[in-house]
Point group: C2
Amino acid sequence: MGDLEIRAAVAEDLPAVVAMLADDVLGAQRETPDDLDPYLAALERLTADPNQRLVVAVREGRVVGTLQLTIVPGLSRRGSTRSIVEGVRVHADERGSGLGTRFIEWAIEESRRENCQLVQLTSDNTRTDAHRFYERLGFVASHVGFKLQL
Amino acid sequence: MGDLEIRAAVAEDLPAVVAMLADDVLGAQRETPDDLDPYLAALERLTADPNQRLVVAVREGRVVGTLQLTIVPGLSRRGSTRSIVEGVRVHADERGSGLGTRFIEWAIEESRRENCQLVQLTSDNTRTDAHRFYERLGFVASHVGFKLQL
């Protein structure tokens, strides 16, 4: 396979990115790939925020993955900064290609560059394959993730 | 008990805030209340970031709680914005006073004001009392929280 590039997402990437968000047993129920306007507004907000990195993975000119990294300063742990990984998606054609690993390694490197002391993420209880994947990369399943829909 | 005020944290609150972060079975090992410099630097960074709310609860002029709320724009769920609650601490004297509930209700209200569609947080697997507390407030333990120390 051709070389992989990881770069900031731009508006032209949105159709491919939203298609990946929707191509998922959980995402299918909550995304609207036919209406990109709310995604475009969100991308503008993300791009304007220096603590946000919304990136895509591109292979041979095609968007094959997306990931959001958020840098979160904080007081606890002696004023530590942490990073949060959200919205990791890899195109169905790329599963098993090592892109997931490359992506998380990119997030870890970017977090080090930002002087983060901790990288964290949550994964739906039902995504047991993803849990094994994160544990292989050194993550520890030390927490319970709670969500409240508003 | 006197009235409770929830307001943005300022530098003068730091000794009380860091003492609360350290007064905890997990925090005792990772905080340095005798050296406030890293906390002061972190507070300056938090105060400068419009997506951060580091607040304290004050009763009769005394800081009795702290909480950090982070507003996180995103692409998934039709460009939803979510909020993340971190670093919730209530002074030992105030436990059972309802302050924890007031605090989380404040975070939920602030998240609604910021048009968030989701409030999320993670809680260490060992904090089973906290888990019951969040479930009583309507949070769902739907996720596994992974952390990687850098």
